[in-house]
Point group: C2
Chain length 299, copies 2
């Protein structure tokens, strides 16, 4: 991208840091995206040092993509939303960071996703990707539903769907559930010949592994496979209930975001589907909006 | 114990190796237990070297407990049942061991538990402890139901019950399930003040952590708490179905074993309860029976 006429006195960096990658954008004061960079995992709960490294990597990559000199990192006003910093210990750990930026405004990945989806206005989001949760911000009041993690939470998420599917497939292969279209699909997808190999394959695997199996559940459910239907219906019902618990009168703006959005959408309750509107901007732009809001509130 | 008149030409060691500890007994040819030793974790899936160390530790401790010299380790004819060796890669890894014993006969922890429960005769067992599974051995034919592991399997086990309880408690604290007697009990037991602390507390915890929460579920179910009842009923129904799938006509001898036996027993179906008989001997004695069977079959 071109950077000849950029006012380098005020460059924003918007950072969306999650468990598998960190996305950063460099934005000028008018809101034009000058460059984008993708770094490694940036959930401090899985490693504070790793998160810091990934964030700085993504910032340099975004500057480079914008044809801006690396030394400008010290000029960047950074808005950053990170997974994991809803936990107070992680938030504190990241605040201790002697970061290389001009200013750093830290909040949760949920907050920036909501700001992006509704262009900085009040509203709610439900996220269904590897994990799941609901979030709303109304008159400065935050509500979080879920965001409990794997394997005990994140109902309706990719990891949850995959985990339930593995349980059902193994129970079905044992003859204790009816036969399922998922059985052979999953064995084949994971290059397993039988249940014993499947047990070995899934042992000790993280949420991201199980999330990759979610498409098997949706495909089987679309073919009316009873075991897959029972999983998808529980998951979608949970997400619908999250939406209902976040909804107000008069209705607030509400978006479903995350990698599973197109799949999950189809299974939500009719009332919830009626509330959903597409997100305006992605989370990393929400991070820039957050930084601008914080700067303005400081004046 | 006294070992003056022991025939050290033929000493058996029975080993029951699991994920948290390894139990060994030294037994003479008449079946008298001369000494007992407890070593560390011995599931090779969680570390082959650790398993070998724990087994040797438990053997020396059993010899010492029997007032027998440590050098007799090389005279021991060992029957050993290990968790994890149902996986072919783990079985192979343990067979490679340059062990210090006279002879080593390796089989699964399930096999020795079944041999012990039925004094070497044919029969079936269901295990409900940290994990769960069913096993039968009839005319040399083995059937295994479950034994799939955590968090995707082991329905009805302590770890499964605890995991379901954490999910229900977090969903209830979010207002998406009715209030439950488990909510405050679990928060208090884990020294948590709220759901956020609970999320942090349960993150990345192993099966053994969740298994310790099983008593919370049983206590609440006994008080007719609906959320706890829904968990216990699914778990007990699964164990009942495991028993039914192992049962034959005419009925085979069947035992329920493992740390949760007294709790789970109460919730099983009436037909299944009618089949259950107490185990005759513990798994480590089943390991000795296994070694004797193997020696006899070699003659």
């Amino acid at each position: 991208m071109v950077a000849n006429s950029v006012d380098t006195n005020r460059l924003y960096l918007g950072v969306d840091g999650g468990g598998s990658k960190c996305k950063a954008i460099v934005v000028d004061t008018t809101g034009v995206v000058l460059g984008t960079g993708i770094g490694g995992p940036a959930n401090p709960f899985h490693g504070v040092e790793q998160a810091m490294t990934s964030i700085v990597d993504s910032a340099y990559l975004a500057l480079s993509d914008a044809n801006l000199p690396a030394k400008l990192i010290s000029e960047l006003v950074v808005g950053m939303g990170l997974a994991g910093v809803n936990l107070p210990s992680m938030y504190e750990a990241m605040l201790q960071w002697q970061h290389p930026f001009r200013k750093l405004f830290l909040t949760t990945d949920l907050h920036i996703a909501c700001l992006g989806a509704h262009e900085g206005n009040d509203g709610a989001i439900m996220i269904t990707g590897t994990g799941s949760c609901g979030y709303s911000r109304i008159d400065g009041e935050t509500t979080i539903i879920g965001a409990h993690g794997f394997p005990h939470g994140d109902i309706g998420s990719g990891a949850w769907l995959g985990l339930q599917a593995v349980t059902k497939v193994l129970t079905s292969l044992d003859g204790l559930e009816q036969d399922s279209a998922m059985n052979q699909t999953m064995l084949k997808y994971l290059n397993c010949e039988n249940d014993l190999q499947l047990v070995e394959m899934v042992a000790k695997k993280p949420a991201s592994f199980f999330a990759k199996l979610a498409f098997i559940v949706f495909d089987a459910a679309e073919q009316q496979d009873p075991l897959a239907l029972s999983i998808v219906e529980v998951g979608a019902s949970y997400i619908s209930n999250v939406a209902r618990s976040l909804q107000l009168a008069p209705p607030i703006r509400m978006s479903l975001i995350g990698g599973l959005t197109p799949k999950v959408m189809a299974w939500l309750a009719a009332d919830v589907k009626g509330w959903l509107q597409p997100p305006v901007s992605p989370p990393e732009m929400g991070a820039v909006i957050y930084a601008k809001q914080q700067i303005e509130s400081e004046i």
